[in-house]
């Protein structure tokens, strides 16, 4: 899935430190472009209206084709991702990136594909049926029961880059990424924190522009 930013760059001054609360401000939105749909394993979803990611999106619908894994396997991996790194604010479209990246691994390596398929089956067994439909407690117990296995390690490790290194996560958690294109932060709030006493000029000399 390609992630394309709409409206170009994130607006300058993405929230100041003089805000009196820590809510992530609304930012320009990235959008998951729909892939051409052809395989059998297809993950689909919508970005919930009212979320930071959906408000500016031209279409709230996203879809993703899997090459080596089935739809059920993809959804189970997404659900496992939500247990490992539970973020209510992150839409399913981000967890679908995890399924997509693991599917990519499986597509290029028969051993990895088997390991992932076996792992998904083990999750279902541990949940006493369909992992996707188990309640939160059962899901957590099922994931925990696999800790230490290579399937668990593969999925957990993949989460770190799949879930946190994408434009949707950046926007959700308030990280603007690269700043040099906007001239850095020298005039854009690198020292705008006002809720603590300011350091002396000796400790922190003024900006010399």
């Amino acid at each position: 899935m390609r992630v394309i930013p709409i409206q170009g760059a994130v607006p300058p001054s993405a929230g100041g430190c003089d805000d009196d609360h820590g809510e992530v401000p609304r930012l320009a939105l990235p959008l998951a472009r729909r892939d051409f749909l052809k395989g059998s394993g297809i993950l689909m979803g919508t970005l919930a209206t009212g979320t930071v990611l959906a408000t500016l999106a031209p279409s709230p619908v996203w879809a993703l084709e899997l090459k080596a894994l089935s739809k059920a396997e993809g959804e189970t991996l997404m659900a496992m991702g939500r247990v490992l790194y539970p973020h209510e604010k992150l839409p399913d479209a981000v967890y679908a990136l995890l399924a997509k990246d693991l599917d990519g691994k499986a597509a290029g390596d028969a051993g990895a594909a088997q390991m992932i398929k076996d792992g998904v089956a083990a999750l279902d067994r541990a949940a006493g049926g369909d992992f996707r439909k188990a309640d939160a407690q059962k899901k957590l117990a099922a994931v925990k029961s696999l800790e230490g296995q290579s399937f668990f390690g593969t999925v957990r490790g993949q989460c770190i880059t799949s879930l946190y290194d994408n434009d949707m996560a950046y926007a959700t958690f308030g990280y603007p990424g690269s700043a040099w294109e906007k001239g850095g932060y020298i005039t854009r709030g690198f020292q705008d924190l006002k809720w603590l006493p300011a350091p002396s000029k000796a400790a922190s000399p003024p900006v010399d522009l």
Partner: protein, 522 residues
Amino acid sequence: MAKFDLNDDSVVVIIGSGAGGGTLANELAQKGIKVVCLEAGAQQSNASFINDEWKSFSQLAWLDARTTSGSWRVAKDFAGLPAWICKTVGGTTTHWAGASLRFQEHEFRTRTVYGEIKGANLLDWPITLKELEPYYSKAEDKMGVTRTHGIPGLPGNNNFKVMHAGAMKLGYKDVHTGNMAINSQPRDGRGRCMQLGFCFQGCKSGAKWSTLYTEIPRAEATGNFELRSESHVARIEHNAQGRVNAVVYFDKNKKEQRQKARIVCVAGNSIETPRLLLLSASNLFKDGLANSSGQVGRNYMRHMTGSVYAAFKNPVHMYRGTTMAGIVRDEAGHNTKRGFAGGYEMETLALGLPFMAAFLNPGAWGADFAWWMERYTQLAGMWLVGEDMPRETNRITLNDKVKDQWGLAAPNVHFDDHENDIAMREHAFRQGERIYQAAGAIRTFRTPPYPSTHNLGTCRMSARPQDGVCNKWGQTHDIPNLFISDGSQFTTGGAENPTLTIVTLAIRQADYIAQQMTARAL
């Protein structure tokens, strides 16, 4: 740029183009000495640096096969990545934060001042601070270190404001925006810091000193210097008299080449430098070059490190501006009342969202980890860096079971924390947490060490040949025309970030080499 013949045996061959190699190369070239610099990595530029953490990591980091062993946590969290250092023209000066602190006087004579510490292989340096002071001054001027030579300090960012406020409340006194090789105003043909926030990814504005765009182009301009990038050195050869005389390397086209040499200087950072000496073992030098002491690869130090991150009710946006934006130096001295020898620095540090996920608590998952990530904009962070104990058993060895892409034995990095390191880390964690609590933190977190950025000591300086690998000039005890020109020379590690001292030693070594060449001693 000059071009030298492979059979030109009058050249000085320098292996590595970072803080040690790049500086030494320029200093020698300025004196009219012919230099060939072999750099394993590719050439980047301010324009080609990528301000995206993972992409930059792929672009700059040394990712050749390495293995780990020992009880340090890095071996568990990053088994194949013991060090976060670079393979690129300019070496790790592309990635470094810019902190440029002189060693303290007592840190050159720790065996005398700390006494004998069980399980540590402490030794006094064969040089003193007094001898190094004029060279420290030259290095600071060269690098444009703030708060030296009339250069103003950098303005502190939000992350520093948090550290500063907490440190003041705790009663710390020596708290400021540091001595940084980052321009606070335009200087030396480079612009001022734009507070980009990506110091670790290569400074796109060029405000941060790196040999890539200072020493190397200046060396090229002399006509005495040739840089060969993407040239991976496989071994150093010697003649029947035991003098080194050639360097064998794989060039850009993966073809083996042999450059003849009058002098060879090794500056591959403290893992590759001893590895290369070990890989160069011969009938004459069965244990590797310059290893009659058996100390090559031993006494590997990586600084006591750890980080503290803290979450606040209010926003911080720590990623804005200089990564290492300020320092608390009050704990840097030697004060055994704290329960350990040596000292440590507390320096702000910020990670982007992708690296926060990777490094906050490697291996962790679940609701608590998610809690921290969701407060990303409300986090402040600091890095703890202190002197660790040299130990003979902490060492770089050749792992014959694992080969790199050239078929050469990969280095294994073995490290066990000394009790002193553990006691210091505990103290530093506690003080870091107290700073943030004093500033109003709602929670604090102790982040374990990142892969090592300060790799030191594996070819250490010693007064006596049996105690170390090289003398006070970095010249190996066994082979007079073979020099160690990077942080491997450090006898002990000090509490300070090592780059300034590496550059200082390189400037001083250049004077010595030039004088020895003039005297026909080399």
